[in-house]
């Protein structure tokens, strides 16, 4: 039998410290960037405080997710960790064992199969794609996808290297830390199931955004050709979105909430305008949540979902589209109908 799956619960862990954009700008020895907050729409980002790292964020997000779930940890069939950064005990990068194995041990998910994936900012949605495959084949009934991103350390490298507003490290200043987790479960309800379509890697653009470990300093660094990657992502994604909508017999007008990858306010708005020109229609709401958290890499979509669930903005049966753009260049579309999860989050007051 071919099973369907749905998102059962979501959890996040927002780190303890915050760094405002004005505090960040003060760190530059010579002011070279103007109106950064206005252009990106980011007024602050949450960053790890002492004792927090990718692993602790991921673990706490997993626990938070379980607290909203009907499942116990030992009922999970699989755990997939999807973070780009794998920092444990500060800025020590862990190669082996996998993060997911340690998260399993930490939360007591004794029966879960574990593995890590890495697919830049598309990590968690790639996790959804894989969870759906395993559930559809009947191998597992539940899967937790989890990610912890400690990427604010890239800011430190950028501050020392940016000398003009055209620097390739400007994008590093948008980054904030976060942990997120979601449980995907098997469902027999065809209407509530996830529709996953259009995951593709256009490797021609793979050199437009690269991140790697520093040789001489703790943490990493990232270089982005922001304008080029934005143009490629927007123009290449339109046919993929069109195909995904066609597959589920929907138009863009039928989408109540479009949650794009949270990079910057100006790029999201210009992307929305491009879609309006291409489709001649637009989704009812485009979600932008980066004002207080910045770009949190692979966790952005689930952080946005959690925020809107907590604010009780969603209604049952709303059509939601998650759209990811990630270095690679990876374009992915996930469409689903919001389920009864809306009643389990936020205060009724």
């Amino acid at each position: 039998m071919d099973w369907k799956c749905q998102i059962e619960s979501i959890g996040v862990k927002i780190p303890g410290s915050r760094l405002t954009t004005s505090e960040l700008m003060v760190k530059f020895k010579t002011p070279c960037i103007k109106k950064f907050g206005l252009l990106t729409g980011i007024s602050e980002r949450k960053i790890c405080s002492t004792g927090e790292d990718s692993f602790s964020l991921a673990t706490e997000a997993a626990k938070n997710c379980l607290s909203h779930s009907k499942y116990r940890a030992d009922e999970l069939g699989m755990i997939i960790n999807c973070s780009i950064t794998k920092y444990k005990d500060g800025l020590s990068h862990l190669y082996e064992p996998s993060f997911s194995t340690l998260i399993r041990n930490n939360i007591g998910a004794s029966r879960a199969i574990t593995f890590d994936i890495s697919n830049a900012c598309a990590g968690m949605l790639t996790g959804v794609y894989l969870a759906e495959k395993f559930i559809r084949q009947g191998i597992i009934k539940t899967c937790m996808i989890v990610s912890g991103e400690y990427i604010s350390n890239l800011c430190d490298h950028a501050i020392n290297n940016i000398t003009t507003s055209l620097s390739s490290e400007i994008s590093s200043l948008t980054l904030g830390d976060c942990g997120a987790a979601a449980i995907i479960e098997r469902t027999a309800d065809e209407k509530k199931g996830l529709i996953i379509s259009g995951f593709t890697t256009l490797s021609k653009y793979s050199d437009l955004c690269t991140g790697r470990q520093n040789r001489n300093a703790p943490g990493g660094k990232m270089r982005t050709k922001a304008k080029k990657i934005h143009q490629a992502a927007i123009s290449e994604s339109a046919p993929i979105v069109k195909e995904a909508l066609k597959k589920c017999s929907l138009s863009l007008n039928d989408i109540k909430w479009l949650i794009p990858h949270q990079t910057s306010r100006s790029s999201i708005i210009s992307g929305a305008n491009h879609y309006l020109n291409c489709f001649g229609e637009k989704p009812e709401q485009i979600v932008i949540t980066l004002k207080e958290t910045g770009n949190t890499a692979s966790t952005t979509h689930f952080l946005a979902l959690y925020k809107y669930l907590s604010e009780k903005q969603f209604s049952e049966d709303d059509n939601v589209m998650l759209l990811c753009f990630a270095s690679g260049l990876i374009i992915g579309v996930v469409i689903f109908k919001m389920n009864e999860m809306v009643y389990r989050y936020g205060s009724t007051n």
Partner: protein
Amino acid sequence: MGAQIKMVSVAQPRFGFHHVNSIRLSARAASQCLADAHIDSCDIGLLVNTGIYRYKNTGEPAIAALIQKTMGNNRTIIKDPDNHKNTFSFDLNNGGCGMLTAIEIVQGSVSSGEIAYGMVVTGDSEPFYRLSKEFTFNSAAAAIILEGSGKSNGFSMFRTYSYPEYSGEFVSSTFFNNEGWHGKGRNILNVMQKESYSDVCVDCAVKSLVNFLNETGKRLDDIDLIIPSQSPLGFTDKLKKRVGMNGNFIEIKKTGNMVFHTAGPLFALKQVWDDHRFKGSKNIIFLTIGSGINVSLALYQN
């Protein structure tokens, strides 16, 4: 429909160099695999990279995307709107078991008819030259292509067994050494392996193999070949003695203390693929072991 192996290829550094770019090495194995299978790179629907020790510890994009680019799969949607071939690629890390986990994912997509061909590539090399402690893994890469079998032959069963009580036996991570070269600090990769690790691996592998045989309903005598992980050092020797399968237990020749890590099982597969023992065997077990400790097994039937 099942999923069967179409081709396997391996790559090692040329001219005896040890340190190489793991991405280029993996791309070389992948390109060779495509050429040997007479398949165009754009026909690969799913590409998964499972190498752990990556060139300069690249975090993004996924190494799989860089391999995809190097092997010539550079399609764009805007410029080739009539080309409906689609490739999706990502990295998967699961220690020494990653390769088999990725094969399970690709097998699912191939056997459902979602894609025609899927590829798993794996490759390791020292991330930064001479910036590691106790790094005893050969620079090596391997690639495998899976296709639909049309019958029930091919991969038929996958299982993973976990032994969390041994998660501290093998840990590899970086640490920042302030007293680096010329007063500059350096990120150093430190591979910490307890002396008992290979013995523990053998115990876990034997337990898992027994459970797996019970689940498949087969006896050890029914198994024609076992293709195991080639690390840690001494693992294959000890396991071979415990299991009692000499000729049908595939080992790669060792070079000193260096071992093949994630590419090890594919190097062993390549050996029996080339001497036609693989195609002449009916029941084959892939047995991989990785830190955690996780043991993944798969049954392949010709």
